[in-house]
Every structure is written in C-alpha cells, then in structure tokens.
C-alpha cells in the first residue's frame, strides 16, 4: 500500500476488488491527495457513497466516519447531515454517473439549488458497468453496450449541445470542474478548491471501465488502447465528430457567491428565536 492508503484507508479494503485497469482508484487517490494537501485529517471528513462501481469500491474505505446512501439519495442524506454537523466538518460524496446524472439527478439539482456545503465527486465510467455494461446517461452516442446491441440512439448528457454541468451551474452550484482520472496535480487542485468551497461543489471525473465499456463498446481489452481512447476525449484530440470532446479543468467557479444552505438556515432560525423570545 502507498502512504495515502496507509494514512487514510482501512487496510482490509485495500487493494479494492476493482478490475485490473479500472480507473476508479485513480479518482479515489486524487481525492486523498487533495485531503492530504489541504492538511485535513480522518476526523475532519464524513465520507458518503452511492451505489454501483464507485459506491462499492469507495464504501467504508475511509478510516473516519462514512455512510452509504441508497441509489441516488445520498445527496438528500448528506443535506440532512450538513444541518446536523458543525460547519468545519467536510462532507465528501463519491458517486457514479448513474447515481448523479440519472437516478439521483433531481436530488442533486436540489442540493445545488440549496447550495448545501457538500463536495460531490462523480466518478463517471460511461454507464452501468457494475451490472454488466448497460448504457447510462453519459454513454457516448452510437456505442454498442449490453443494452444497446445495435448502437445507442438515446441522447446523453454530454453531446450534441448538452452538458450536464450547464444544468448544475444553472441550478446554483458554486464550483464545477471536469477531469480525466489519468490527470495529475491539476485534477487534485480542482478537488482541493471543491472541498474548500463552503457551498455545493461537484467535480466530474471520467475514468475507464476496461471490463465492460472497454470490451463491449471499444471492443478491446488492451489497456493501452483503452488508455489512449480515454486520453483523446480531452482537448479535442480524438478528431472523431461522433466522440464526445471535453475540456479539462474548472468549468464554473462562483465560490462564495451565494449563502450556504445550513449556515443560512441556522442564522434564520436564530433570528426567529430572538424575535419570538428577545430575552433568551
């Protein structure tokens, strides 16, 4: 185990049960690096997880307080926790693309609307890979998957003028960024900014599923071919108009522009109490 795993992760959960070549550990590692570089400890963070590959591989790995939410509902649970916990306790959620951009999208948008002080890391593997590789809400168009044997015709959240991060920005998110799991310190810097934000932040990190997306959609199990395909998704390197093209980095930064949900609610409650009972 490396120093990050020794410092922050439970030994019986490391190494994870993820497939060889799965990029989820790269996402996990970048969150831990951000935590380390911010000088935060085990007791400073409550870690919540969703369902699917991202939930299973990161659940109960954190040495400190942690919990698993039901599919797509972890944002609502975390909003309640935000109200109950002291302001300096950070809440980090690791969820998948199905959890965030499909089943839990409504909860996620309301979490952004309220500007709840939560950091959401969306680990996106382009579909429901833990159940066998069915397409999801970010699966690239035309791709063959377990549930689209003739190619995917359903529009996704990332192509043809749609971007899920636009929706989250319009819903009121304070900080949004997008990265590839192979990236280095630049991705860590975005996560640090997200954790440092007192309001709602989301970092969308795309990572490779070598087992289902690789073998069914890319028709290869070769790690280097899969690595290159994912690398070319960024900064217009693919050259294929049918393949999504992303820009790595900060998408939207309005940190501090809106009051944080729990702080505003506590201040309002306090003012009401004062009004009702001025001598208290």
């Amino acid at each position: 185990m490396d120093r990050l795993a020794v410092k922050y992760l439970r030994p019986r959960k490391t190494p994870s049960t993820a497939c060889s070549g799965c990029g989820l550990g790269q996402v996990h590692k970048k969150i831990l690096l951000a935590i380390e570089q911010l000088g935060l400890g085990i007791n400073d963070i409550v870690w919540g997880t969703g369902i699917g590959c991202s939930g299973r591989q990161t659940f109960n790995t954190w040495k400190g307080d942690n919990f698993a939410g039901t599919h797509g509902r972890v944002y609502a649970l975390a909003t309640g926790l935000r109200l109950a916990l002291p302001e300096d306790k950070k809440i980090i959620l690791t969820v998948g693309d199905g959890d965030a951009f499909g089943i839990g999208l409504s909860h996620l948008l309301h979490c952004a609307r309220r500007n709840a002080g939560i950091t959401v890391i969306v680990a996106d593997n382009f579909g429901y890979q833990s159940t066998g590789g069915q397409y999801g809400y970010t699966t690239p168009q035309s791709r063959v998957t377990d549930s689209s044997p003739y190619g995917l015709t359903d529009p996704n959240w990332l192509q043809n003028g749609l971007d899920i991060l636009n929706l989250l920005r319009d819903a009121g998110a304070g900080f949004l960024a997008r990265h590839l799991s192979f990236e280095g310190q630049n991705a860590v810097e975005s996560i640090k900014r997200a954790i440092g934000n007192k309001g709602f932040s989301l970092v969308h990190i795309i990572y490779p599923c070598v087992t289902h997306f690789g073998e069914i959609s890319l028709k290869t199990g070769d790690r280097e071919a899969i690595f290159r395909w994912f690398e070319n998704l960024f900064d217009g390197r693919s050259g294929d108009p049918g393949t999504p093209a992303f820009k790595s980095g900060i998408f939207h930064d309005a940190v501090g522009a809106r009051p944080e949900f729990s702080a505003a609610l506590k201040a309002w409650t306090s003012s009401l109490r004062q009004k009702e009972n001025p001598r208290a």
């Binding site: 185990m1 190494p15 550990g25 790269q26 590692k29 990236e183 280095g184 280097e224």
Partner: protein, 83 residues
C-alpha cells in the same frame, strides 16, 4: 537539473493488479515487464531502472491500486508534475 537517481520507486508486489499504466506513462523506462506473478495471479511489473527515475510522479498519479510510492532516496523533495 538532472534529478535521476534521487528517488526510490516502491512497488507493493502483492497489491499490484498489473494494469500496466505505470509502464505506459513512464517517460524514462523505469518499469519493464516482470518475470513473476503475485499471489492473486497478476504478473507484476519490474522496477528495472530505478536510477533513471526523475520523480515526475506520472506513475504515482495513474496507479489505481495504491501500490506505488515514489520517495526521495537521498535529499531533496519530490518534484510535482502534471500529466
């Protein structure tokens, strides 16, 4: 400044799942295909040329299994670099 030879490459043999990303991103050829399998049946890469490591950390950032650490072997801090 040539930083080669200033870093120790620590690979946890049993934790490695042989994804090969470290070999793929290393610009100096520090890793090679290894001769041995670990207890889980993965053919773990070999740290063949540790003295060539410049501490760029590319392998550290892409290792998904928390089995790789790059540490200064003598003096000086590890230089951080982005991919």
């Amino acid at each position: 400044m040539n930083m080669a030879g200033s870093y120790a490459v620590n690979l946890d043999f049993e934790a490695c799942k042989a994804c090969g990303y470290c070999r793929l991103v290393c610009p100096r050829g520090v890793y090679r295909e290894g001769p041995a399998f670990n207890r889980k049946g993965f053919k773990v890469p070999l740290v063949a040329e540790e003295s060539l490591c410049t501490g760029c950390l590319r392998c550290f950032y892409v290792c998904p299994d928390f089995c790789l650490d790059i540490t200064p072997s003598a003096s000086g801090a590890v230089r951080e670099k982005t991919l």
